[in-house]
Symmetry: C2
Subunit: 213 residues, 2 copies
DNA sequence: TAGATTGTTAATCGATTAACAATC
DNA sequence: TAGATTGTTAATCGATTAACAATC
């Protein structure tokens, strides 16, 4: 399982397959073929088989894949069979929305700690969870043992927070601040930027046209 | 400007360049070279020049790019020089957070309408904006003339909402529901899925290790 | 002019798709 | 067995990077 040679797009698609297999409405499918997966996710059947091939043999020629086994194996690859505790930095609007989002614990990503640097927030509760002082991050995470952080702080604070997270033993960061975070090579960052997504979409609008034209 | 042959990764990077150029803290740079842009964004200098080359000549050999002119030209390419009104579907936690996010209007994407199907929300205000009935979407958007929609509804409702959006003249959709939306070819969709991002990151964790080990 | 940096071409790299022998 | 579908190899496609003549 030479992880270093797995393409990133493959990992992203694995997550898509897993999300599909996890959906309760699909739990009645006992076996699933690559053609069926293409139908469900829009990802080419050959691509699906190729993606899996990085990790061994999964299916039965002539039959397909046992849905439940496939789900378990992809979950194992992505290391989400067991709960992965997540900490959240930044108790603003977005942080609050994420804390209230049931999809995270449902997919084995419970938020186990919330941190902020704002004295008006520290000690108060958000969704029934006490907001901790970011200064105590390292000490508290010695207990929480989280390796995953979600960063929802303003741009200006993001780099400092990233440094603190690395110091506290965090290994991967989901960053909502629209900044390039500088972290050691061993730490992985993924950025989500709403404005950037809208800019890309905006390109596809026809110039000068408005809805209804 | 053969739009159809511009690679999607190029558009995503253009948005990154623009975000950098838009940052107030960088407004003192009068000219900027591709090497400087690499430093700032992590994107290879050759890649930067190649990306721009799809849209004509921008810079001065030996000197670089005039920062302000570059900003304007990229903004024009992405069609964000002028305000692009956006409508928001789903007045839940995430929708509320997006509505309160100052970054959207700051980048010329003001949210001009909010819709929901929940009778307990319709008519009430969120961030001082009245929540409209999704049933009135088409009629109201005849006035709003928005071409961009952000979808923050539960999975089960997403496809129906997408159909209504298409019917109301929406051309591009930023979808936060973890479902594959079926839309006509002329409509563009980008998906943002928090759980998927976390799954990809989770892959990079070492098995069995915890923070502090 | 000399030094710097662009815009573009060509080379490399990597990812997607097609095809098909293996096999349930 | 015949039909279906996998896993993998090879072919295609596309994107990134290197190199350099053009030029400010």
């Amino acid at each position: 399982m030479e992880e270093s040679k797995v393409p990133l797009p493959t990992l992203e698609r694995l997550a898509t397959y897993l999300r599909y297999l996890n959906e309760s409405t699909n739990r009645d499918e006992v076996t699933i073929s690559s053609a069926r997966m293409e139908e469900a996710t829009g990802i080419h059947a050959a691509q699906f088989r190729k993606d899996l091939s990085y990790f061994g043999e999964f299916g039965q020629p002539g039959i397909g894949y046992k849905a439940d086994e496939l789900r378990q194996r992809i979950a194992a690859i992505l290391k989400v069979e067991d709960t992965q505790p997540v900490i959240l930095i930044g108790a603003g609007n977005l942080g609050s929305a994420l804390l209230g989002y049931a999809g995270l614990p449902q997919h084995n990503f419970p938020i186990v700690g919330v941190f902020d640097n704002n004295a008006n927030k520290i000690g108060y509760k958000l969704w029934n969870r006490t907001i901790e002082d970011i200064a105590d991050l390292k000490a508290i995470n010695r207990e929480l043992k989280s390796q995953i952080a979600i960063v929802c702080v303003p741009n200006a604070a993001a780099q400092k927070v990233a440094d603190q997270l690395v110091d506290a033993g965090i290994r991967v960061i989901l960053n909502f601040a629209p900044t390039v975070l500088r972290v050691p090579e061993r730490v992985f960052v993924r950025n989500v930027c709403f404005v950037q997504e809208l800019m890309v979409l905006s390109f596809f609008l026809s110039p000068g046209l408005q809805a209804g034209d």
